[in-house]
Amino acid sequence: MSNPLTPEKLVQRVLDKVDTDHDTTRKLVQELFNIITEQLKSTDRMSLYGFGTFKRIFVEESTGRNPHTNETISIAAHYRVKFTPSSVLAHRINADYSHLKPIMIEDEVHEGLLMKALKLEQSLTETEAAEIEMTAVKTAEEPVFESEQSQKSGIKKTLITGVALVAIILLLGGLYMAGKARDSQETVPSEIKKNIVLQADPEKAPEPAPPAAEAPKADTPEEGPSRSYTITTGDSFSILARELWNNIHLWPYLYSKNRDAFPDPDFIHPGDSIIIPQKPDKELMIDDIESSILMAYERYRSLIKDQSDSSRNANRTINARYVIAGGETLHPGFLDRYKNRIDAEDIRKSIEMVD
């Protein structure tokens, strides 16, 4: 862009349109801006109809930082001048782009993923905190292990034991289920592991209790040993499925066992009691899992249909897609097999999610 036009040029342009002498115009332009400055000083405000408003705004003292030297300096309280163009001026200036309008972004897939990650992170920290409380008392009885990690902070130590507890529960569960030991867990000193297993076993690891029931359970899963669980803050079917079974995509199966009590899969409240069935085997119970996924999907769809003006429908649509995307992840080909029961748009979106 060229150099800014000077008052002299402005005067010339005004003179082309108005029949007056040069000196008067120059003085007038100068005086016009002098008056604006005076008004700003005396009344904090000067409004020119059809042009805009100049305002004097008070800025409180703040601290700034020199990005080169990292030096903190104090910026004294001062006034600044703000110019707000009138709507007429703003529209005239924006004439080139006035045909462009704000667009509402309907596709919330990206935001949905972020939100989901955030929720998971929150629930993780919550459960970890709860387990730290549990183990904190127990480690106090075992001073031997404290010396092992004495250089680490107390919080870090309890955190590690909390993680180890989760790891052990998962490990035991996995071992007992189909003999599929998951050895990808965190490496923790084995003495601590044993110690925690002994302590945690009676109260916190009910999954391994019925190990022999695997084969008959595949036929009649309802009769398999189930247990009751009371919802705490931050729980959801998906988070519970991830914690209990190490697989978030299995949550429709968990929900299918509780569907009568909870018509909306997204609404469970702290204090509610749900039934937690035995972990379904991904390979043996393929029909049960797939039908539960379809059930959850259709539950979402019917909720959207019944409550067509609900503000939750956007979320429900996304969740419905997550459900079937999970089905595709668990059993590749799921979407293809059930394409006559699933909306074509949802199939397309969920394939994108899987990818």
């Binding site: 800014p4 001048v81 782009y97």
Partner: protein, 91 residues
Amino acid sequence: MNKQELVRELATRLSLSQKNVKHLVETTLEEITLIMEEDESYSQTGFGSFKAEVKNERITYNPAYRKKMLLPKKKKVHFRPSTILKGKINE
């Protein structure tokens, strides 16, 4: 101070008729607008500079709709006060 009072004040200072002053003020402001429309900038000595700036499109979140919005590219008036003006109003 509204425009009528401004015209009256200018007329007394320059000893001109209010009619002439009004016409001149309107034309001056119109010319500044035209300068900005022509993608030029205008700098008033001791006051500040006016310029039309192109702002790129950006994504915002509208909490009322709970939706993200794509705000289009647009041109905005940008006023940058001069150091002299800043000094004067902070006296």
